[in-house]
Amino acid sequence: MRFFIRFLTSLLLLVVIAAVGFAAYAWNRSIDPIEPPQRTAFDAKLIEDGAQLAAIGNCTACHTRPGGKSFAGGLPIPTPFGTIFSTNITPDPETGIGRWSEEAFNRAMREGVDRQGRHLYPAFPYDHFTKVSDADNKALYAFLMSRPAVAQTAPANDLPFPLNMRWVLAGWKLLYFDSGAYQAATDQSDEWNRGAYLVTGLGHCGSCHTPRNSLGAETSAHLSGGEAEGWAAYAINAASPAPVPWTVDSLYDYMRRGWHPDHGVASGPMAEVTGNLGTLPDADIRAMAVYVADLMEEPSAERAERGSLAIEHAARQGNLIELASAPAGADTPEARGEAIYKAACSSCHEGAKPQPYGGVSFHLSSAISAPNSQNAINTVLFGLPAGSGTRSAVMPGFAATMSDEEITDLFAYLRGTFAEKPVWPDLASRLAATRSGDYHVSVKPSDGIERGPENIGAIDQ
């Protein structure tokens, strides 16, 4: 009995020590509020640098509601755990970050903790932002604190117990979060390091392009393909599904302009990213291209050969003469799909009009060759809406005219003919869920920052 009591006492003591230890780990001090600084307190050059950094960080994408005031927050971010609303990061003293000192801002970026010391949800990608240098945080702070202050409070997050308690995040951080600024790889060039710094840090490419585990943390399969706003974010490492292997030059062009003749236009959330990257210096884009191309590795001879063949096949298209009529006879999914393709798709996708305003040849399409059917489904159902007040690639959606059976037939043909792969096994269920809206897809114009007040083209499906 005495032994049992002593055992219980020891156990209790251990639990208390662990709890105190965890509490000490989970606790963060509050950083004193400040009087919001005047715009003139910041150097103009610093603000300008901050604007470019904010574009790399794509801050506006989450922190601006479509049609709302820039950086005023309130956008619902759906997660597998519940809905998180982005916060107001304008310098409004009461509802924004006006009372945050630079130290508080720096800590939020580095450690994912707000000014008052509360843990932030990793929907704010501090697992990447922790790598941002103090100098860049200083510029970002100058940029955000010199934006117009907007009084706007985000709705409360809709998260179930216990995720609605922020101290739980300390446990998540213990498991998955390593804080610390980017450390340069000494065996790589400055350009490679600059690219790695931007891609893994502020650019937070992995937030979409890296798969997540059941607790929402990125796995070690760095950039091997993930998901964003109802779209597949392709692998951008050696597992890239692009029919033509990416190169430094093609990655550079794609990020610079939002499209590339060997790959097509950026769509879904990536369109917003390329829209943002359009404001950056060439050197930064090139550095990111160098780093990503290195991750993708030199293609094997066989893969390179398939890529050149795809380019050749695509170049031979654009000949409308053979499109005139549907093939008669064979009543197979592929034959029915071919008839639909020739009647409804080929006039743009094999037309004489060059990209980006003409459609991409499916010999070159990652959506058709990808292991996941989601982007092909999204594009056929919802199309590519026009950008508001800007030239953009457009595609009409076919949700109203093509049934699920017809789209399945179409994909049987496209997959077999252009990717030489069987139709995706989960196509039927994905297609039904996407059409019904059970699977939520955010549809955006190509290469635009549609959340800004000037451009409200985004339609949520």
Partner: protein
Amino acid sequence: MTKLTVNGTEHEVNADPSTPLLYVLRNDLALNAAKFGCGLGQCGACTVMVDGKAVFSCLTPIMLLEGRQIKTVEGLGTIDNPGPMQTAFIEAQAAQCGTCIPGMMMRAQALLESKPDATDADIRVALEPNLCRCGSHMRILKAVAAARDLMQSAAVAPATERKPS
């Protein structure tokens, strides 16, 4: 032969199944309301309704349309007895050259059939895919808003009993 149901009437059409609906409407069925604008689904002049939704008829092959309900401006009313959408467009004198108008009417009709109490902002968003090069947008918006109000009162007084103004 492809069977098409247009404005409630069934037609047997002797055209290649890959023919866009627009050509069949105009060339085979003599329904000339829908217009050819760009042929690429970028201007909206060819817009008609299929099962209640607005679609570009210029790039919808008829092979996709068997068993579907197609509606064109001719299905909204007649010259002697125009429907509320047509009445509203006439009253607002919304047409300048008129090429975009049938598409505008059909997209607006699809909106109001699915959302009878659409707000002015809803109307602006819904009509976004349809272009007008004359610049009569303000009158078009006014006409659609008037059509919405007419349809709501038309639910009380049927179109056939209203006097043309």
